[in-house]
Amino acid sequence: MRTSHLLTLIGSFMLGGSNMRRHAFLVISSLVIVVMVLASGVPTAAHVQADAVLDTLPRLEGYNIYFSEIGEEASRFDRTDAGLSRLGGLIELLGAELFTLEWRTGVPADADLVIIPGPLKDLTAEHTAWLWAYLQNGGRLLLLAEPNVKPVNALKSNAGLFQLMWDDMGLRARDDVVVTQGEPQMAVPPADSVRAETPTPTPAPPVEVPSLITSLATGTFNTTHPITQGLSGQLMFFGARSLEIDEAPAQSQVTALVYSDPSFYGETAFQTYVDTGYAVYDREADTALGQLVLAAAMQDTELNTRIVLVGDREFATNGGGLQTSPPYSSSFLYPDNIRFLLNAVAWLLEAESMPEPPVFPTPGPTATPTTTPTPAPEEATS
């Protein structure tokens, strides 16, 4: 019996009886919950609340979902801020069987979905070959691609998996970081600006350049796609890559799902900014200012392949998009991130029809977010 069903029974019994009975069953129910918690090892409030909420979502029983960890992806076993335990737990509560992808012998034949949650290291040639063969035979993939800023060195836009995806499907992530300009700050231009013509080469003096803001909240969705059509709030990103899409009619149909605010651009020299604090908008190299695509879905009707690509790993991590407040609750700070992810999983699996968006408890006052949300775009650009 699932936790929510048990609680429903207990609750109905309590409501309908005498005070004595209420007290008795309060004790019993508390004991039952304590026993269940001890037995399952699952955080109390979060589990119960999430379970109740997830009753509205499509069931995923019978589906096998494989998580990759070969490239130091966020782990579903990791309960820290960097981990993916909350997303894994939610999907498991929906009934899916979760496995870790072993890779050596490829993607198992019973895999209904592969999730690659933000590798820090690139897939090897063999892994890419296995994954591509899986996708070309009707495979399903949820891929979170983190920007290539140290220590990340994975999924370059013009190599490996993204080269294949671009050539054959018209979808890839760019080698940039979606940013908007913030308060000015003093920074020393990088080494290539050293004035060599002077008798003793000297570094350029500090100059005032804008700081860059990477965290962003966006409410600009494609409301026609099943993954995003029910979303009404805001999705939270914590340093994302922009996605490049070829929307020309083809066997592979790519649909942009989420856009940034128009004040954002794709900084291609973000590593330099991290190292020196210096970055200026480069019209030639950087991705042009505008509504940049942050998440997209691809569907190949002939191969029966589906891919959802999100340009940010933290979008789904415990300390990023799945932050809760208080941390032991299921009061998610960014509930639309969860709705997006669970909708994406359901769409990828073609599981039932899309549900009504789940409603999570309102975050409590003790929220201690691990990252600072971006100022609203209007504020950032003003």
């Binding site: 070959a129 591509w132 998996l161 080269q163």
Partner: protein
């Protein structure tokens, strides 16, 4: 009534038409074989009829009923392609290329991969490019080993007589490898039966793991003479390059594999890997005689046809074998392939009863263009220790000119100076005694003058067990040709390199008689040279003589040949 019959006939006709149309429409298309034509990989070209192209390989697939096309790996492989052929990728496959190839295989399709070792130069004289291709620990090799049990090794197969100059040029770095006979497979069965070698031009070795999850792998070609050189510095153009020598612990020795096939039962996919791309290239393994248009390397031709038929999943009985124009005879001591051949001599009642095992009953013999074949049948099954001595008369003076002997399943020539092994002759003892002797030795059109069987190991004074006393008669000449004119397992060879047929002469010098015309690509054993080194003494089973040095591509240092004394006016002895 008549009208009714007309209607019935019309209905039947229409019915037949209607039923035949869908049947016709449902006829499956022939399998599609696609050749990778890629500038990035610099593959052997599917549209280039030149020396290093693979247009002849395409013809082989088409002759087996396949459709062919060429593709780039920068685009998805067509879903209806059954076989991908990838010959001589000079560079390693990029990740997307490998992924596309892997997708193709995971859908139950097949791959023919012919890949050279890294290091040597490609044979394009105008634009030599060092090969830097897939490594043993690369993605392709790792996947092939994992899923099929066949992997690449980072070696260059080096014969003991190879020099740095020889391995710097693929035209000269040739040698021969042999069909695997320890583990038999239908693909190589006819090559084993006819002792057909396969020629390679600078090969790498393969790793084969026969047993594995959902897969079986079978070796196809091997060498035991070469070692696997692992130091790429041997190809260095800097002086001095690393020495060509076996380094224990790093280089490979023993029975090294050059070709393998494998099947994955999970994918239902087939794989052929060849450690040398020239095996299947136009002017190398699939070269033809410019005059007769017959293959120069029947081993390569038959091997290629057999692997193509296997990849196309043709039934074993329908797969190509040697054409009837070739002598199809296995020297195994069996009588099966002699039934239609004429009896030269019957010798039934010369030994007093009881009949002895070594009592010669019947002798069959014939010539083709390169060999004299002899079968001696006895009253009982001959013992392996039996020794057969044959005297051959080929100068029409009634005297025996050459005496050869089969003992311990090897052939020696008996001369006044003792016995000399004849490495390119062979004999076997089983149901009967069977010999194959090079025409170079026996001459064509001669007769068997005498024939005796004796116990090997007996004293020289012991009387033979049985002899045929009188000449056996003229040996008939069959119109077939030998599939191979060099049968010995190892050797220092030269290959004729000329656009026109070259003159093989009796002795050094352009004023000496011409023995034969040899086409480009003819393989010969080099046995001697003049002191100046400008003429080389050569031979194969059919001919022997002298060729000008500049017409040859040797696979060894010609200066290592012994100098043959030339007496004016007298042809040197062969």
């Amino acid at each position: 009534m008549k009208r009714q019959w007309r209607w019935i006939a019309l209905l039947v006709t229409v019915g037949l038409l209607v039923t035949s149309i869908p049947t016709y429409a449902q006829d499956p298309l022939p399998p599609l074989v696609v050749f990778v034509e890629d500038t990035q990989l610099q593959t052997a070209s599917a549209i280039d009829p030149g020396p290093d192209g693979v247009t002849r390989l395409i013809q082989i697939f088409e002759s087996l009923g396949a459709r062919t096309a060429w593709i780039r790996l920068s685009e998805p492989i067509p879903a209806d392609a059954s076989v991908v052929v990838l010959v001589r990728p000079v560079r390693a496959l990029s990740v997307p290329y490998l992924a596309r190839l892997w997708t193709h295989l995971s859908r139950g399709n097949h791959l023919l991969l012919a890949i050279d070792p890294s290091g040597p130069l490609t044979p394009k004289p105008d634009k030599p490019v060092a090969i830097n291709t897939e490594k043993s620990n690369g993605g392709l090799s790792a996947l092939l080993m994992l899923v099929y049990g066949v992997g690449l090794r980072d070696t260059f197969l080096t014969e003991p007589w190879f020099t740095h100059a020889i391995i710097a040029n693929q035209r000269t770095a040739f040698s021969r490898v042999f069909p695997e006979d320890v583990v038999s497979h239908a693909v190589t069965d006819p090559l084993v039966a006819y002792d057909l070698a396969v020629q390679v031009w600078g090969a790498r070795s393969l790793a084969v793991e026969p047993l594995g999850s959902h897969s079986t792998a079978v070796p196809l070609l091997y060498t035991e003479t070469a070692y696997g050189e692992t130091a790429r510095e041997v190809f260095s153009t800097q002086e001095p390059p690393a020495p060509l020598e076996v380094n224990i612990g790093s280089d490979e020795q023993g029975r090294l594999l050059v070709g393998a096939l494998a099947e994955n039962t999970l994918f239902e996919s087939r794989l052929i890997v060849l450690g040398d791309s020239e095996i299947v290239q136009n002017d190398f393994g699939l070269a033809v005689d410019a005059i007769t248009q017959q293959p120069l390397h029947w081993g390569n031709r038959l091997f290629t046809e057999r692997i193509a038929a296997w990849l196309l999943d043709q039934p074993v009985e329908g797969r190509p074998t040697l054409p009837p124009s070739l002598t199809r005879l296995t020297v195994d001591g069996g009588t099966d392939d002699w039934t239609d051949r004429p009896v030269l001599k019957e010798d039934l009642d010369d030994v007093a009863p009881p009949p002895k095992v070594a009592d010669i009953q019947q002798v069959r013999a014939f010539y083709d263009d390169s060999y004299l074949y002899v079968l001696i049948e006895t009253a009982g099954v001959p013992s392996p220790g039996l020794r057969a001595t044959i005297g051959i008369e080929n100068t029409w003076d009634g005297e025996t000119d050459r005496v050869v002997r089969c003992e311990d399943e090897r052939v020696v020539e008996v001369t006044d100076d003792g016995v000399v092994p004849v490495s390119d002759a062979s004999c076997a003892v089983s149901d009967a005694i069977e010999l194959r002797l090079p025409v170079r030795l026996t001459g064509v059109g001669g007769l068997i003058n005498e024939l005796c069987l004796e116990e090997h190991g007996g004293s020289r004074q012991d009387a033979p067990l049985d002899c045929v006393q009188e000449p056996l008669g003229l040996v008939p000449l069959e119109s077939t040709t030998a599939p191979l004119q060099l049968m010995d397992l190892q050797g220092t060879y030269v290959s004729v390199f000329s656009t026109d047929p070259v003159n093989l002469r009796v002795s050094p010098g352009t004023d000496t008689p011409v023995v034969a015309f040899l086409p480009h690509g003819t393989l010969l054993e080099a046995v001697g040279r003049t002191e100046a080194g400008d003429w080389i003494q050569v031979q194969n089973a059919a001919v022997e003589g002298w060729l000008a040095e500049f017409l040859l591509r040797p696979n060894f240092n010609l200066a290592d040949l012994p100098v043959v004394e030339i007496v004016a006016g007298v042809p040197p002895a062969g």
